[in-house]
């Protein structure tokens, strides 16, 4: 059986000021997996996502989403940036942030209307944030802010979701709520790519994993490749003790 790939990355190299952050990455993400990208700080995890989404220009290589360049497939893709990448003091409300997820399908100039508002309310409901819809975003806790970001991605109604550390700085109940939504999305046939830090939870949360440290170390099903050998290669220290179940 031939596998369908949601994302294909070929020979991708990204550099900041001529210093390579990602080196010659080949990666094929099968459709319908919930994939973690793991690696130490500075491994280029966020950069990989940003390059796929065209936010950063690579110096070499090509990227395709369902066999076409990202530019033609924007509407199939949703993105949750790192929570810390935006200014939460920005004068806006939770529902307004979620509505931003609809801007992509609207295109330039056209404004969101009732349909978009309804979609935003549904997404807020799904992440349990409906009671806070009119709250100013600076008045939300870290976990609530992350839920709003997730709702914004849900409203994009995409096939592929990219998430940059969605569990960073959230409490346990929010983490469970988020992972349940991610698992639900995978059940619905969506592909999810998640930058993840907590190695302990990888086997429990994900079914696919990519080890990254400037170069790709390994990628594949968690059951097959999530082992001490790959962890040691990625992090450069012996992980036998850390992940001893």
């Amino acid at each position: 059986m031939e596998q369908k790939f949601a994302i294909k990355v070929d020979d991708l190299t990204v550099a900041y000021d001529y210093k390579p952050v990602l080196w010659d990455i080949d990666l094929a993400v099968p459709e319908g997996v919930l994939m973690a990208i793991v690696g130490p700080n500075g491994a280029g995890k966020s950069t990989l996502i940003k390059a796929v989404l065209g936010i950063i220009k690579p110096i070499a290589g090509s990227i395709s989403i369902y066999d076409k360049p990202y530019k033609e497939q924007r509407k199939l893709v949703a993105y949750v940036p790192q929570k810390g990448s935006v200014d939460w003091d920005f004068p806006t409300t939770a529902i307004d942030v979620v509505m931003m997820g609809t801007y992509g399908s609207l295109g330039w100039i056209k404004r969101p209307g009732q349909k978009e508002k309804k979609a935003a309310l549904e997404a807020l409901e799904k992440v349990g944030m409906l009671p806070f819809k009119n709250r100013q975003i600076s008045q939300l806790s870290g976990g609530q802010q992350q839920r709003v970001f997730l709702a914004r991605a849900l409203v994009q109604n995409a096939s592929i979701y990219f998430m940059d550390e969605p569990f960073q700085g959230v409490d346990a109940s929010t983490e469970i709520a988020i992972i349940n939504i991610l698992k639900e999305l995978r059940k619905a046939g969506k592909t999810l790519v998640v930058v993840h830090h907590d190695l302990q939870t990888v086997p429990e949360y994900f079914d696919w994993v990519t080890f990254l440290n400037v170069k790709k170390i390994a990628a594949g099903p968690v059951k097959e490749i999530f082992n001490d050998d790959n962890l040691t290669k990625t992090y450069g220290i012996n992980y036998k003790v850390a992940i001893n179940k």
């Binding site: 000021d17 989404l53 065209g54 530019k71 004068p91």
Partner: protein, 386 residues
């Protein structure tokens, strides 16, 4: 009011409104200083444009000068990208250099150019009504009113068309790029509009004060609202209000018009900074005091909760024991009494049922550290209400 008086106020209002709109986005993008840089470095553009056109209000001059403004932004970014200096240093390097080129150009040609450094820095609104636009012999009003009016209309039009794009690219650059709204295009679009506005306004209010017109209304509005549309509206209102009241202040003081307008802008910000409902200084101080009392109350109730022995709950003993000054103890005891959380008999304080319930909830709040809980508690227990 005489005709020129009305015209001056009108120009002031239009300038203030046109500056306030890009100003809001500059403030939100933490780029306030860029407006300062642009306003100075357009000088060489204006001088060269003036050599060519001999008219301060010519569209060609405005575009030429605005181009210098955009070049400033590019230069700042280029220097910053070297990684050798930070953004503020890059700004500090670029605009004085460009500005000084303008100053030299003016000085070298002082004899045949009707442009002096004072007017460039401070503007002269009082003279604006004398430079009039004639179309086939008909007096159409002051030229600068037309120039700024057109700039204002274009700015408002662009704001209406690209409001959502401006918002998303200001709030979340990454998402904006992923959605296909190039942050690069939005950034340079905003920089171009800001440059054109500054060039148009500088004739009236000068290179230094135009910065105040861009930043102060936005900064003031930011303290008052958590809604971008309201922030824009308030900024425009504050700008217009300062322009008119500034004019009359100048009239009374017999002082510089643009200087007076800026003074009003500063006073307005100061007033709002003190009295704004949520972010204002007084409101913050009041809230902090309330929180202190809140914490004291919970400490006091917990102490009562932890000690059943009477000697620990004697009213005089409490004073020494919790180590508070008399006034504070009295405030706390009064608050607890008012809310029926304690009862006092024979100078022995005991918790009421309500007090016990509140203390238990407060304990839970402290253990789970959930902010929202205490808000409901305050509603339930009428604390700090009425």
């Amino acid at each position: 009011m005489t005709n020129p008086q009305i015209e001056i106020q009108l120009i002031g209002v239009v300038v203030a409104m046109a500056c306030a709109i890009p100003g809001v986005f500059l403030v939100l993008r933490k780029m306030s200083l860029i407006s300062d840089a642009i306003s100075h470095s357009i000088l060489p553009g204006i001088v060269i444009g003036f050599f060519i056109t001999q008219d301060l209000n010519s569209p060609l001059l405005i575009l030429l000068a605005a181009l210098t403004g955009v070049i400033t932004v590019v230069l700042v970014e280029v220097i910053q990208k070297t990684g050798l200096v930070k953004e503020d240093t890059a700004i500090g390097l670029v605009f004085p250099s460009l500005f000084s080129i303008g100053v030299i150009l003016i000085a070298k040609n002082a004899n045949d150019v009707h442009l002096d450094v004072d007017a460039v820095l401070l503007g002269e609104l009082a003279f604006a009504p004398f430079d009039r636009l004639f179309i086939s012999g008909m007096d159409m009003g002051p030229k600068s009113l037309w120039v700024m009016g057109i700039i204002l209309i274009i700015t408002i039009l662009l704001l209406f068309l690209f409001f959502k794009e401006l918002k998303v690219s200001t709030f979340d650059k990454g998402l904006s790029a992923a959605l296909g709204f190039s942050p690069f295009v939005m950034h340079y679009g905003l920089m171009s509009v800001s440059s054109i506005t500054v060039v148009g306004a500088f004739d009236a209010v000068g290179a230094i004060l135009v910065v105040a017109f861009m930043i102060a209304p936005a900064a003031t509005a930011y303290l008052l609202t958590a809604n971008l549309k309201k922030m824009l509206l308030l900024s425009i209102l504050f700008g217009a209000f300062s322009a008119i009241s500034g004019y009359w202040l100048a009239h009374i003081l017999d002082a510089s018009i643009s200087g007076s307008m800026t003074t009003v802008l500063g006073l307005l910000f100061f007033g709002v900074y003190l009295f704004a409902p949520n972010k204002g200084l007084l409101s913050v101080l009041y809230r902090q005091k309330q929180q202190r009392t809140e914490v004291s109350l919970i400490t006091f109730l917990l102490h009562l909760n932890n000690h059943s022995e009477e000697n620990e709950r004697h009213i005089n003993h409490l004073n020494e024991h919790i180590n508070w000054q008399k006034v504070r103890s009295k405030t706390v005891v009064d608050l607890a009494l008012k809310n029926n959380m304690i009862s006092i008999s024979n100078n022995i304080v005991s918790l009421t049922e309500k007090g016990k319930e509140f203390t238990n909830l407060a304990l839970k709040y402290i253990m789970t550290n959930k902010d929202e809980k205490i808000e409901y508690m305050k509603d339930d227990f009428f604390l700090f209400r009425g």
